[in-house]
C-alpha cells in the first residue's frame, strides 16, 4: 500500500520564452500516473501561462495552453493562482482560461480548477506540501 503525498508544482516563468512552463506541464502529466495529491501553483510570471486566447501560429511555436484544460482528466484539479502576481501584471481572473474539472462524487458537476489566493495564502499552500518541484 503506497502512501499518498502532497506534491506542488511551482510555476514562476512565462510561457514560450523559456522551456520551463512546457516542461512543468509534461512532468505534471507524467506524475499524474502515480496517484498522488497534486497541485499546481502559479505566481510571478507563471500567471502568464494561464492567459486565454494564446495564438502561436505566427510565432511558429507549439501552443500548449489548451493542455491546462485537460488537467482535470488527470485528477489535477487545484491550480493556485496568486492575486498579487495578477495585480502587478494588470491581469484579472477574466483574462485567464476557464479551467474546470468534473467531480465524479457530485454527479460530475463541473467545478473551477483555478483557486485565486493571496501571497500569504500561497505561502500557506506551500507550507502544507510534502514535496515541492519548482519550474
Amino acid at each position: 500500500m503506497s502512501i499518498v503525498k502532497k506534491f506542488l508544482y511551482v510555476n514562476r516563468k512565462a510561457p514560450y520564452g523559456t522551456i520551463y512552463a512546457q516542461e512543468a506541464l509534461e512532468v505534471v502529466l507524467i506524475g499524474a500516473a502515480f496517484d498522488q495529491d497534486v497541485s499546481m501553483a502559479f505566481l510571478d510570471d507563471g500567471v502568464f501561462q494561464l492567459t486565454k486566447g494564446q495564438d502561436t501560429k505566427e510565432a511558429g511555436l507549439k501552443n500548449f495552453s489548451p493542455t491546462f484544460r485537460a488537467l482535470g482528466d488527470y485528477e489535477v484539479t487545484k491550480l493556485y493562482v496568486e492575486q498579487e502576481s495578477l495585480d502587478e501584471r494588470g491581469l484579472t481572473l477574466d483574462d485567464l482560461q476557464d479551467i474546470q474539472w468534473e467531480d465524479e462524487d457530485d454527479d460530475y458537476a463541473e467545478k473551477p480548477s483555478i483557486i485565486v489566493v493571496s501571497r500569504a495564502g500561497m505561502a500557506d499552500v506551500m507550507a502544507d506540501q510534502d514535496v515541492i518541484l519548482s519550474f
Partner: protein, 102 residues
C-alpha cells in the same frame, strides 16, 4: 546614427528592460520581443516606468509574440508600435547597429 535595441526578457523577472532604456540614446528604437513583450502591456506595475524611461526612444513590439502570449492588441500601451517579422528585418537592416539585451 541610431541603434535598434532588442529586449527579450520579462520586465517582471529581471532588470534587462530597465537597463536597456537607461542606456538607449535619444532617437534609438527599442523592440520588445519574446518575453519582452510583457513590458509593452498597459495597466501593469511596469507600465509607468516603461512610458517614462522610453519617452525619448521609439518603442516597438513584435506582434507575433504578443498574440502567442494571449495579450489582446488593445492591451499594448499607447505609443508602442506593433511590427511583424518582415518589418523587424527592415528595421534591423536600416539602423546603424543592433544591440540585443539578452
Amino acid at each position: 546614427m541610431a541603434t535598434l535595441h532588442t529586449v527579450n526578457k520579462s520586465p517582471f523577472q529581471n532588470q534587462t528592460l530597465i537597463s536597456c532604456l537607461g542606456h538607449a540614446k535619444v532617437g534609438d528604437s527599442v523592440l520588445l520581443m519574446e518575453d519582452g513583450v510583457y513590458g509593452a502591456m498597459s495597466g501593469t506595475a511596469m507600465s509607468e516606468v516603461v512610458a517614462g524611461m522610453g519617452a525619448n526612444v521609439k518603442l516597438f513590439v513584435l506582434g507575433a509574440d504578443v498574440s502567442a502570449r494571449g495579450i489582446d492588441a488593445s492591451r499594448v500601451a499607447e505609443g508602442i508600435t506593433s511590427v511583424n517579422y518582415e518589418e523587424f528585418v527592415g528595421m534591423a537592416a536600416s539602423c546603424d547597429r543592433v544591440q540585443n539585451w539578452l
